[in-house]
Subunit: 243 residues, 2 copies
């Protein structure tokens, strides 16, 4: 596990404050997301997620390693360093606070917050993000149910199952949906499948067939592809917390 440092004298520890470009922040976010399981992240997966050629990722990843944002052993994948993880979480916090703020304070429809936040997250100062968070009561999650990292980079991700993994009969609460497909979000919104909604799985047809759900009095059915995007947890009575 020989370190990669070459002739370059200094490591240029990321200045922490800012100075990260938009694309770099995007790399870090992607690597964070892909590496949540703790394993090293594969070049190809990063390339896939960012829609870039694998060779581009190799190059960028080397630079990020030189900046101390991640550790990198050629052919073995990358892993964020503490500095890199902090930077990723800071960007994630920006993104999600901005999404929440747009939704709550400016009444943005939830299918459009992602795109706007994607641009603003690279331009907003920490102060702005903190003020936004304070103004809307320090929400714990964004409009799609994704947890918002705290100022000092702590985020608690729940273990969740997706709606298509459960058999008929389960009563669940929607916790989170994926945030980057506006059309899907609009559709889910129409169906009232939003974080917090309580859903009963009425039936589930085999071989990729439709899943029938009851939400309040409505009964509707969705395909497994859509169901896979809806993350849920078992319903626990709010007045009688587990244990």
């Amino acid at each position: 596990m020989r370190s990669q440092r070459r002739g370059v004298a200094i490591a240029e520890e990321a200045t922490e404050s800012d100075s990260l470009t938009g694309p770099v922040e995007d790399y870090l976010k992607a690597i964070y997301a892909l590496g949540s399981s703790g394993a090293a992240v594969a070049t190809n997966d990063i390339a896939g997620r960012l829609a870039l050629a694998p060779a581009s990722v190799s190059g960028m990843v080397r630079r990020l390693a030189e900046q101390g944002l991640l550790s990198y052993e050629p052919y073995r994948g990358v892993r964020l360093t503490d500095t890199g993880r902090r930077a990723a979480l800071r960007t994630l916090r920006r993104h999600r606070v901005i999404e929440s703020y747009l939704s709550t304070a400016l009444h943005y429809p939830w299918d459009r917050v992602h795109k706007e936040a994607e641009r603003l997250e690279h331009a907003a100062s920490d102060e702005l993000v903190d003020r936004m968070a304070a103004a809307i009561g320090e929400p714990a999650t964004d409009p799609h149910g994704a947890p918002i990292p705290s100022r000092d980079g702590v985020m608690d991700e729940k273990e969740l199952v997706s709606l298509d993994e459960l058999a008929a009969g389960h009563g669940v609460r929607v916790v989170r949906v994926s945030d980057d497909n506006p059309e899907m979000l609009r559709y889910l919104g129409e169906l009232s499948i939003t974080p917090g909604a309580e859903v009963l799985i009425v039936s589930k047809a085999p071989f990729g067939g439709p899943i029938s759900l009851r939400i309040g009095r409505e009964v509707l059915s969705i395909g497994p592809e859509l169901a896979a995007q809806v993350m849920v947890e078992p319903i626990v009575d709010a007045d009688a917390p587990a244990h």
Copy 2:
């Protein structure tokens, strides 16, 4: 007045929607500001305002002319086209709405809104800016008193005098102060010299001496350099409009 078009086939009329980079928007803002008098704007003045070498401006200005954002005759200065003016006013609107929003909705101190807006103005969508403006009641001016262009690019600039141009005895209302010097803004804030404040010019010492002002019950004095940054208008009784 031979046109500059070279071998390049198309003129690529600015796509109107966006696609302007941050620096380009800054050029347009600068040219707009310098050209308010209607005259052509000198290369050197643009360079001075943006802290660039004059040669850099020559280069950029040629590109902007090719994009149809301004008209440019070498050695004769530049003038914004309608397209260019609209783009400049859009950026100005963004900047000032954002400043106002930060101040009103997020309680930013007025000396810090400029810097934040300077970054956000290049990233915010028109929709965001419009929502911000609506949320704070479509203000007519930003926190420093600068008028906010309307959605469709109309801005009414008043004729103003600066505080150091007036003789003792005048009663005036502060309309506008320059926005880019945080320390000055903090100081003006401490003195309650903010847009809307009513000020009586008590005395004015000659040869660049101090100007003595009464604001409410306070009497204070400031130097001419500072006074030159404070734009005022004569007080007209609000209940009895002029004429």
